[in-house]
Amino acid sequence: MTASITVSVNGQARELAPGSSLLDLLTGLELDPRTVVVELNREIVRRPALESTSVRDGDTIELVHFVGGG
């Protein structure tokens, strides 16, 4: 078993512990899951599923939220 996996988060490579969930990722980044929408490999993962969804080596994750706009 490898010591860590590498995923892309908002275009940046991040090392995570194997078996990490998306919720673990958000917690590690100090992000409130209520204000962030998560896309895993182009598929939206709804909030209730964040804890039960594991990330795998090579996954591409996008974390988005609302910003000022017109």
């Binding site: 980044l29 992000l31 939206i44 939220h65 910003v67 000022g68 706009g69 017109g70």
Partner: protein, 262 residues
């Protein structure tokens, strides 16, 4: 009070809104000014954009820290999207944020003018309306596009007054009136309004509302301009409902012509 009062309600996608002025939240110099300008505008609908969380400064870019979501109706946009697929992706992400089914759909066709790609817009509108979105489509002032967007199931047609951020005002009142006359769907003029007189003239065409951002954010005093816009939108709406007098080329005296001294 807004426009013609409570009997003159604005209904979009089955939801009643209390103000005909909708405002953006971008480009303000600071969030405190934005919050005060929003308050002064009297707007209920405020637009927001969907962007990546800045992982290095996670708590600074999010707008929700600054908006009272009990007071304001968040209208997410797909600004910055250049294809139908991209706009659909952003719309789905925005809906997942969990506030509502409304989306201000932008599919931009050209970087310099930010004019819409109407083919992509109609395509994305069709897909999103089928998915249950209340699509408010940012479009140009072309009647045929507006009719196609209505056929696609859009909840509102949002023709531009002039290009986004230009402040050029209403350049084609005839086309806006034509769209308003021909579609049943609410018409909200979006983009290009620069100052209060622009907003008033736009509302006098009979449209259902106006969405603006830069006119407030780029004013020297955004809070004062927001107040001006609030009055201008109400004044324009009331003037439209009142029905203006006919214009004529020669003077007609307002005072009696009889009873003059010998």
């Amino acid at each position: 009070m807004t426009g013609g009062g409570t009997a003159d309600a604005l209904v979009i996608g089955g939801k009643t809104f209390r103000s005909r002025l909708m405002v953006g939240t971008g480009k303000y110099t600071d969030n405190e000014t934005m919050v005060r300008a929003l308050d002064a505008s009297g707007a209920e609908v405020v637009t927001v954009a969907v962007r990546r969380v800045d992982l290095d400064r996670a708590n600074e870019t999010g707008i929700l820290h600054h908006l009272d979501t009990d007071r304001y109706f968040l209208l997410a946009n797909t600004a910055g999207c250049y294809t139908a697929d991209e706009a659909i992706r952003y719309a789905r992400l925005a809906r997942e944020a969990g506030f509502n089914e409304f989306i201000k759909l932008e599919v931009i066709g050209d970087q310099e003018t930010l004019l819409p790609d109407v083919a992509g817009l109609i395509e994305a509108s069709t897909v999103l309306a089928r998915e249950g979105f209340q699509v408010m489509a940012y479009t140009n002032e072309d009647l045929i596009t507006a009719l196609r967007l209505e056929d696609a199931g859009c909840a509102a047609i949002m023709p531009l007054a002039s290009p986004i951020g230009s402040g050029l005002g209403l350049v084609n009142p005839y086309s806006i009136r034509t769209i308003k006359r021909r579609v049943q769907t609410p018409v909200i003029v979006d983009a290009g309004v620069g100052t209060a007189s622009d907003a008033c003239v736009t509302m006098e065409q009979g449209v259902d509302g106006i969405l603006m951002n830069t006119a407030l954010a780029a004013a020297k005093d955004p809070v004062a301009m927001a107040t001006a816009m609030r009055y201008a939108v109400d004044a324009g709406r009331l003037a439209y409902l009142a029905g203006r007098m006919p214009t004529r080329e020669i003077a007609v005296p307002s005072s009696p012509t009889s009873g003059m001294l010998e």
